[in-house]
């Protein structure tokens, strides 16, 4: 049988950097092939080469036994290779249907034939259990649903080999199971999946073959039955993974954030957050567990003053802040690590020190009266770069030049500045490598010990259980239950998140 994809001796140099060196990967057809490696190990570059976004300097790519050369992603899709990106490439203001057909519009007699496309989307969605409604606005979808739209988009274009870049980073266990179910169905139909991840348990459970990449080159090819997660981790980084855990409780009885009956309506009038009430004390981490799209984003937006609530009260240190603007809330000591750092956390085309100013425009050391204190901001950016180990040659490079993990470290460092009293952290370690993850946890722990109140939202249940003093479960916009992180397993938490004991459609 010919191989679905065979990469031989792939080498890619950027000026002064070898991103990939002599990479050899053989992907059998009808299998799930996992590619594991730390962030920065060269997985992304390799996938960009396979997807036609970049061209290798050396080496060959064979698809179904025939050598190919890609000049653009369009060439890759022609031979049936499709990519599901980690950062979704969807137009928010279009419907699922419009997003899927974008760039590949079906025509019937010179007109757009949405009916056929809609039927085809329903069919694909149904046969792989993606559960995607073609007529919903992408803006209204949660992260998990957006990912399914991305997968559908690639399938719609007739891909036979799917590249999934860290697909589970945004999913909860049940969704991961669902995704893996989908992948197995795809596999059964003869499709081939390239699965990029650094979550080893998942890789071991779903993959047929595993290729490990370290520092730009393939270091091992193994079968899941032959290795343990620990061995795989050692192959990847040479050390075991850090564990999220809190030490002794630092909870005080000073209430920092009191939320009472908070209700938020969507633009179409649906209730997306329904009478949510909770209190977070100084030195306490409240974890919010929930399947993506159950009101977490709305909760965060309402707490930050980005979206006005329909009802309810938010009190910060006893003071009603409902009418305060986002800026005033930030000045009152609310720090914010957003779920999508590129959308809400930074200005990609601005320098690092300008990103240090962002969100802290009105405060020392960034501002002096109505003026920006450039010197103060730069000095403090140096401090963050140093304390948070942001790997960068200079604070004058644009944020886009940093890797995702380093961008996140800069954001965490910024938000921890200026003695916040409350931290709202959405997926603080998403897409971050092992070392940075441990560092971010340590910073949150330290701040908690100094009486920071933290609202932690995460899809990583280990992180949620390990880092929270209490966990509240959010389902369809309501806090449905509270669990003790000391006594719950990820599996139990996962079923609570989908509404245990309830009939879920």
């Amino acid at each position: 049988m010919t191989n679905a994809v065979q990469l031989t001796g792939i080498t890619k140099r950027f000026p002064g950097v070898v991103a990939n060196a002599d990479v050899n990967i053989t992907v059998r057809p009808g299998t799930v092939h996992a590619i594991v490696g730390e962030n920065g190990a060269g997985k992304s570059t390799l996938m960009k080469i396979l997807y036609g976004m970049q061209r290798p300097d050396e080496g060959t790519i064979q698809v179904d036994g025939a050598e190919v050369s890609f000049h653009s992603p369009a060439d890759a899709i022609k031979v049936g290779i499709g990519m599901v990106h980690q950062h979704f490439m969807l137009a928010d203001n279009l419907t699922v249907l419009e997003n899927v057909v974008l760039g590949n519009e079906p025509r019937a007699g010179g007109r757009l034939d949405f009916r056929a496309a809609r039927a085809k989307i329903r069919e694909i969605s149904g046969s792989y259990g993606l559960g995607v409604d073609p007529d919903r606005l992408v803006d209204d979808l949660g992260v998990g649903e957006r990912q399914r739209v991305e997968i559908l988009k690639v399938l719609y274009r007739g891909a036979r080999t799917l590249i999934l870049d860290e697909p589970t980073a945004v999913l909860v266990p049940q969704e991961v199971d669902e995704l893996f179910g989908n992948l197995r169905e795809l596999k059964a139909e003869g499709l081939t999946i390239l699965f990029i991840s650094h979550k080893l348990d998942e890789v071991l459970s779903v993959a047929d073959d595993i290729t490990v990449i370290r520092r730009g080159t393939t270091v091992a090819s193994v079968r899941p039955g032959e290795v343990t997660a620990r061995q795989l981790a050692e192959l990847m980084v040479g050390s075991a993974l850090p564990v999220p855990e809190l030490r002794e409780s630092t909870v005080t009885d000073t209430a920092v954030l009191e939320v009472d009956g908070l209700t938020v309506l969507a633009t179409d009038g649906r209730t997306v957050l329904d009478g949510v009430s909770f209190t977070i004390h100084a030195g306490e981490v409240l974890g919010i567990a929930g399947v993506e799209g159950n009101g977490q984003a709305e909760l965060v937006d309402a707490l930050m003053g980005i979206r006005p609530p329909a009802a309810g009260v938010v009190r910060l240190r006893g003071k009603d802040v409902n009418r305060l603007s986002t800026r005033h809330r930030r000045e009152a000591g609310v720090a914010f690590i957003p779920e999508d750092r590129h959308r809400q956390g930074m200005l990609l085309e601005a320098t690092l020190w300008e990103n240090r100013v962002l969100g802290h425009q009105t405060r020392v050391p960034n501002a002096r009266g109505p003026l920006i204190d450039r010197r103060g901001a730069k000095v403090d950016t140096q401090r963050i770069v140093h304390e948070y180990d942001v790997r960068t040659p200079s604070i004058d490079v644009v944020a886009a030049a940093l890797s995702g993990g380093n961008q996140q470290k800069l954001i965490v460092g910024r938000e921890m500045s200026g003695n916040p009293v409350l931290l709202i952290a959405s997926h603080p370690t998403r897409g971050v490598d092992v070392g940075a993850q441990a560092a971010i946890w340590e910073h949150i722990r330290r701040a908690r010990a100094e009486h920071l109140a933290v609202l932690l939202i995460s899809a990583d249940l280990d992180e949620l259980i390990g880092m929270s003093d209490r966990i509240a479960v959010i389902l369809r916009g309501q806090l449905v239950s509270e669990v003790d992180p000391g006594a719950v397993t990820p599996q139990e938490l996962g079923s609570a998140m989908t509404g245990a004991g309830e009939e879920v459609a």
Binding site: R215, T326, P338, R343, L347, E349, I372, R391, A401
Partner: protein, 383 residues
């Protein structure tokens, strides 16, 4: 190898900025060269000698009188371009600069020419005229800002419509029964008397033309624009909103307020556009008052990359091209070739900027990758 020593970091820093300047120049220079090539081709095809054209334009531009006219044109263009650039920095497209400055110039001219102004000291008269023009411009642009903030109306649509309304309004008011007077066949606002005029600055080599005195105001606007953008919190919020509205909102920027304020500012600067000509040359608003400067401002702002110095060079280039085009007719070449050249410059510069922007980001990513030695062998990293 790791580039972590302080001296190499400083060196790196300097190289970053030297390269930034080079990259910044690459796009406009490349676009100019490309435009020159296109124009040469057009001239050759239409059987004119490119050399003759260049010759006559250069000869014309060397004449002091032409240069003064170019400088005065450039002053108008500069103000219009800054007005446009303020919007661009926020991702707001103020197409209405044209209507804003014409309405502002007309009403300010009516005020400055009114008889009660005669009794006031010159400085006060001039200041009142300028402030009135800015207020009118700001108010007219403010309508578009208000509509966008409260009703979500695209400023592109509303400012285009406001341009048309301004044209009609100016025509309505410029009537002997209302704000205008009739001198022979010429209908205009009352002549501004000497006390309300801004004297020109003589330029060596010509006595028939002077540089508009209000060129100083244009320069001041440029400095202020730079200062506000680069040094103030307001400017930071404005740039942040332009780079990513969602990130700006999350950082606490009140985007609606910023939209409204920047439309007011843009309109205020637009109100200034007609002032150098009104107070320094025409001394009344008439049908001969130069139209279309607002649209030229859009092109100049694009060419100048919304940067105060870039816009200065761009407006000077535009002014020189316009002023020297008059010399072409004499040499038998249709002067429309200049309009073609300007059009090609704008088109190619937009493309060139995007190419350079992408290249710059990639270059910087590689630079960072190299400085960090991301793909070095483990021994080299840990040592």
């Amino acid at each position: 190898m790791t580039g972590a020593t302080p001296s190499s970091q400083i060196e790196k820093h300097r190289r970053f900025s030297a390269r930034a300047v080079l990259l910044g120049l690459a796009a406009p220079v490349g676009a100019l060269v490309f435009a020159a090539l296109v124009c040469t081709a057009i001239l050759v095809v239409s059987k004119h000698s490119p050399a003759d054209v260049v010759d006559s334009m250069v000869t014309s531009a060397k004449r002091p009188r032409t240069f003064v006219i170019a400088l005065n044109n450039a002053t108008n263009y500069y103000l219009a371009a800054v007005a446009v650039a303020i919007g661009f920095r926020m991702n707001l497209f103020n197409i209405g600069v044209d209507g804003q400055y014409r309405l502002a110039a007309m009403l300010a001219a009516a005020l400055a020419g009114a008889s009660f102004m005669d009794g006031l000291p010159p400085f006060l008269r001039i200041a009142m005229t300028i402030i009135a023009a800015m207020a009118v411009g700001a108010a007219w642009a403010g309508i578009a800002g208000f509509l966008k903030v409260t009703r979500g109306v695209s400023e592109v649509i509303s400012t285009i419509m406001l341009n048309a309304i301004a044209t009609a309004l100016v025509a309505f008011l410029l009537n002997p029964n209302r704000l205008a007077v009739l001198t022979g066949n010429d209908i205009h606002t009352p002549e501004i008397t000497a006390g309300g005029q801004v004297p020109g600055i003589p330029y060596p080599g010509t006595s028939s033309a002077t540089v508009h005195g209000l060129i100083i105001v244009a320069a001041a606007v440029g400095v202020l624009y730079w200062f506000v953008l680069a040094r103030t919190r307001f400017g930071f919020d404005l740039k942040a909103t332009g780079l990513s509205e969602s990130a700006a909102v999350a950082s606490g920027v009140n985007v609606k307020k910023m939209v409204f304020l920047s439309m007011l500012l843009s309109g205020g600067v637009a109100g200034l556009v007609g002032m150098p000509e009104l107070l320094g040359g025409a001394h009344s608003y008439s049908l001969n008052f130069p139209p279309g400067i607002g649209f030229i401002g859009i092109a100049v702002a694009l060419l100048g990359r919304n940067h105060p110095v870039g816009i200065a060079f761009a407006s000077l280039l535009w002014g020189i091209l316009d002023a020297s085009s008059n010399g072409l007719d004499v040499s038998g070449v249709p002067k429309e070739i200049v309009a073609i050249m300007q059009g090609v410059i704008v088109l190619s510069v937009v493309v060139a900027y995007e190419l350079v922007r992408r290249y710059r980001v990639r270059l910087e990513q590689n630079e960072v990758g190299r400085a960090l030695g991301r793909t070095q062998v483990p021994e080299a990293v840990s040592s």
